[in-house]
Symmetry: C2
């Protein structure tokens, strides 16, 4: 028991020791590796990958080594293996279920896109509050009434809620979802959610920030 605790401590601190900078780069590696696989490239060296991605080979080796030796001296990296490993680290193999709250244009666009499937996330339902939208079919899903939310979440294993609501509606909805035990919120409302419940993980998508950076670069 004491030994187990010790081991767990070691593991969890090892995980949190991986720098945020590295984590932020992993999805990009994942994208490039998928592209390589699609082109039937099964082996790549840090040098080749560095040219492709416009980063240093040193950084690639350093990054990948945070999680143990994924490569082989004199050979490079096995693309398929590496893709799988990074997917594991990023939780692709967890097969989380997700629901979309707000079946407007953005919600519909997300429902139709391969963004979930590619990352092992399964979209299971869309909800909306507008009678015009409830009952409509969106990418094969029949939009449910938001009144059914509690029932649905209790009877299904939902880990992620995608929020494509207006700014003023999103805070209450986030608290409602947190109360239902949802563990992750993917927030597209242009406001930062700071929930009272610290167990809930939030990713705020700020598309406007990206547009501003573009404008900055144009101006510069």
């Amino acid at each position: 028991m004491a030994i187990n605790n010790f081991i767990n401590d070691e593991e969890s601190s090892a995980k949190s020791r991986v720098s945020p900078a590295v984590i932020k780069r992993l999805p990009r590696y994942y994208r490039y590796l998928r592209e390589l696989l699609q082109n039937d490239i099964l082996r790549i060296s840090s040098g080749e990958l560095s040219k492709l991605m416009h980063v240093t080979a040193s950084q690639i080796r350093q990054d990948l080594n945070c999680f143990g030796g994924f490569g082989q001296q004199g050979y490079g990296y096995n693309v398929k293996y590496l893709y799988g490993k990074i997917g594991e680290i990023l939780g692709v193999t967890q097969h989380y279920n997700a629901i979309i709250i707000g079946a407007g244009n953005l919600g519909s666009a997300l429902a139709a896109s391969p963004v979930f499937e590619r990352r092992g996330v399964k979209l299971t339902a869309l909800f909306d509050s507008s009678p015009d939208v409830i009952g409509r079919s969106v990418s094969g899903y029949t939009v449910k009434s938001i009144d059914e939310l509690e029932d649905y979440v209790r009877n299904n294993d939902v880990s992620i809620a995608v929020l494509t609501l207006t700014k003023d509606a999103v805070r209450d909805m986030a608290e409602r979802l947190a109360g239902l035990g949802i563990k992750g919120l993917w927030n597209f409302a242009s406001t930062e959610l700071n929930l009272s419940n610290k167990d809930v993980v939030v990713q705020n998508v700020h598309m406007g920030d990206s547009l501003m950076t573009l404008c900055y670069e144009l101006t510069k």
Copy 2:
């Protein structure tokens, strides 16, 4: 002439000396300052703002000082003035015109959102290649045929093109737009654009990366 060159060199190197880390944070300041203005808060200290934004007061002062003294000792910062100044730096006052290529769900969602207006960007037209969509009205814009693109860009001052196309169509379109003299691309296709023309500024929006980070945090 020699003096002018010298001055220009000084200025441009001064601008590029502002660290990327600072630039990346400016849009977030901009958002919080707008929120403050909306709540009629006209004055704020780095200490108060730091509590609001969950960053150090030291960082706020350091960041804002890259562009000169925006604050006043013993008083703090004038919210309205600061908002305006950051807007200037980020190009809000340039009033760029933008067009959307691809009037599907995502294009329509962007057209309906306040994302452009809030940052001084004016959306002037939407284009699509599908006969089903051409001629339809989206947020008050009549969707134009992509065949009209060349004509339109030549007769209008378009700085930014928003790309909401599929992965396979986006590269050709990006080159076509670069050829027409478009200076900025806001790319929503989940692929990185690396144009031959280095004058064109590209911002790639990778929503999938954000979803993966969320999954990572859920798994951790």
